[in-house]
């Protein structure tokens, strides 16, 4: 058996719900560190940045599922919903940290930032795009909507991921490497789909 098939066989034995349990551990640990004063001088920024970065990693992971299956033969399809939902919950956490801890519920300033600050606007847009995806990430929604419509809706993952990466680039001072890495990864994963789509048309 090829190594990839062996991994596939092994993964078949792992239930998808374990991902939700595993996914809950890092934020819980992070919050514990922040609350106990172990996250440096600015625990609020620490929480916010880390949750945002993890959310981007999960977005990259969810976009990698299809290319990995197509080009490597690794089958992670059964985990895709869990990865996507975790990405949503991490973005939600990131948003709540911003509203509650960073902005301290100063609604006038929060709303002004959403409207006036392009990096906040685009981050908000990405978050709102994920909302219908999270709500319809269940079997009943797929049945009710029909596979085609459901799939079309879930293509929102692509602009949402791009919005997340641009949001990150737009908020940093100078030009650090990480935000560009995320954008490059996401663009690469989207380009892989484009190639397949054009080949299918030919």
């Amino acid at each position: 058996m090829a190594p990839v098939q062996r991994i596939n066989a092994w993964l078949r034995a792992v239930p998808a719900w374990t991902l939700y349990v595993a996914g809950a551990i890092p934020p819980a640990w992070l919050f514990f560190l922040a609350a106990s004063g172990r996250l440096g001088a600015d625990p609020v920024k620490g929480l916010e940045r880390q949750m945002g970065e993890w959310a981007l990693m999960l977005m990259v992971a969810v976009l990698a599922v299809t290319p990995l299956r197509r080009f490597v033969g690794l089958n992670l399809l059964k985990f895709r919903r869990a990865i996507g939902l975790l990405a949503f919950f991490y973005v939600l956490g990131h948003f709540l940290i911003w509203v509650l801890l960073d902005m301290g519920l100063l609604w006038s300033q929060i709303l002004a930032d959403i409207v006036k600050r392009p990096y906040v606007t685009i981050g908000m847009a990405g978050f709102l795009m994920l909302l219908p995806l999270a709500i319809t990430s269940n079997n009943r929604s797929i049945r009710r909507m029909g596979a085609q419509r459901w799939q079309r809706l879930h293509k929102l993952t692509y602009p949402a991921a791009l919005a997340g990466a641009v949001h990150y680039i737009w908020l940093v001072k100078s030009w650090p490497l990480e935000p560009f890495l995320y954008l490059a990864l996401i663009l690469m994963l989207l380009a892989l789909r484009l190639r397949v789509a054009t080949r299918a048309m030919a």
Binding site: A34, A35, G40, A41, D42, P43, V44, K45, L47, L101, D102, M103, G104, L105, L106, Q109, A112, D113, K116, R117, P118, Y119, W170, L171, K173, S174, W175, P176
Partner: protein
């Protein structure tokens, strides 16, 4: 077992605030009566009327959360990487429109000034703030010693350029060396100091050792670190962040809640050190140092941002 002496203890654990304040009184008392320096403190400094009575942030917060891109762009990078910087011997070249230009050794500079403790609010352009107990002297004292000529209008500052000890300088994050500048009246203002110490100790490398500028009514990036050159000039000098992004960082960069950074609001700030749920406080114009307002009379600070 290698790490058995590593503990979770902090400076504040071994130095409760009461003792801390006591120590400060002791130092002040010793200075007042001309007594020997207390053994605890390495630097004796006079208290100053310019100090705020707000409680300073913890030593380890001040020294572990720094923007000092010469040592990396992460906030913890300077604390991790600045230890290798050689700060002895150190000379500051003072040139341009002065009567006595030359290379001034740091010991020589310090021999001619009275050190004071200046507890200042520190407001970062990223909308967080701290309170920092600096030790330093007024920049005007050093400028007077060098003899500023009547033709001088601006003061330009330069940070050390030493890529082998400052790894960040190997990357084009900013145009190195770091440069800053002040108008002469800003430089001569009694609030403007050159700091050589922090919390009664010699300035840690990540905080700008051995000598740095502190201008408390301007965003933190104006307070240039590890200064090796001070030039008096008659034209507005180029400054690093303004060179990198002139639309976002002006020459003046006074703390001003009415003038937003193009990408984020400056209306409020998060004071660090007060815990997860401390929230925000409104930002004050000139960071609350209203006595400098007169320097900008007749200027539109939305234009001269």
């Amino acid at each position: 077992m290698t790490y058995r002496f590593r503990t979770d203890l902090r400076w504040s654990d071994v130095t409760p605030k009461g003792v801390f304040l006591n120590r400060r009184q002791l130092m002040a008392g010793a200075a007042a009566f001309g007594l020997a320096r207390p053994a605890l403190a390495k630097i004796a400094a006079q208290p100053s009327a310019y100090s705020t009575d707000e409680v300073p942030n913890r030593f380890e917060d001040i020294t572990s959360y720094n923007n000092y891109y010469e040592f990396g762009t992460g906030k913890e990078d300077p604390a991790a990487n600045a230890g290798s910087l050689t700060v002895k011997p150190w000379t500051v070249k003072i040139d341009g429109m002065v009567d006595r230009p030359g290379d001034y050794g740091l010991e020589d500079i310090l021999a001619h000034v009275t050190l004071e403790e200046r507890i200042y609010r520190f407001r970062c352009v990223e909308a967080w703030s701290m309170v920092v107990p600096w030790i330093g002297f007024q920049l005007s004292d050093l400028l007077a010693r060098a003899g500023v000529r009547a033709s001088a209008e601006y003061v330009a500052f330069e940070t050390l350029m030493r890529p082998e000890e400052m790894p960040g300088q190997n990357y084009p994050i900013l145009e190195w060396p770091y440069r800053e500048g002040l108008r002469l009246d800003e430089a001569m203002h009694p609030l403007t100091i050159l700091a050589t110490g922090l919390y009664g100790e010699v300035l840690p490398n990540q905080s700008g050792a051995p000598i740095r500028l502190v201008v408390p009514w301007k965003y933190g990036f104006k307070s240039i670190k590890a200064i090796v050159r001070i030039t008096l000039t008659d034209s507005q000098p180029p400054t690093s962040w303004n060179m990198q992004n002139p639309g976002e960082y002006g020459f003046y960069s006074n703390v001003n809640p009415e003038v937003d950074h193009p990408r984020w609001s400056q209306a409020s700030e998060r004071p660090l050190g007060a815990g997860l749920f401390a929230g925000r406080v409104p930002t004050r114009k000139f960071n609350g140092y209203d006595e400098v307002a007169g320097l900008y009379a007749g200027q539109d600070l939305a234009v001269d941002f």
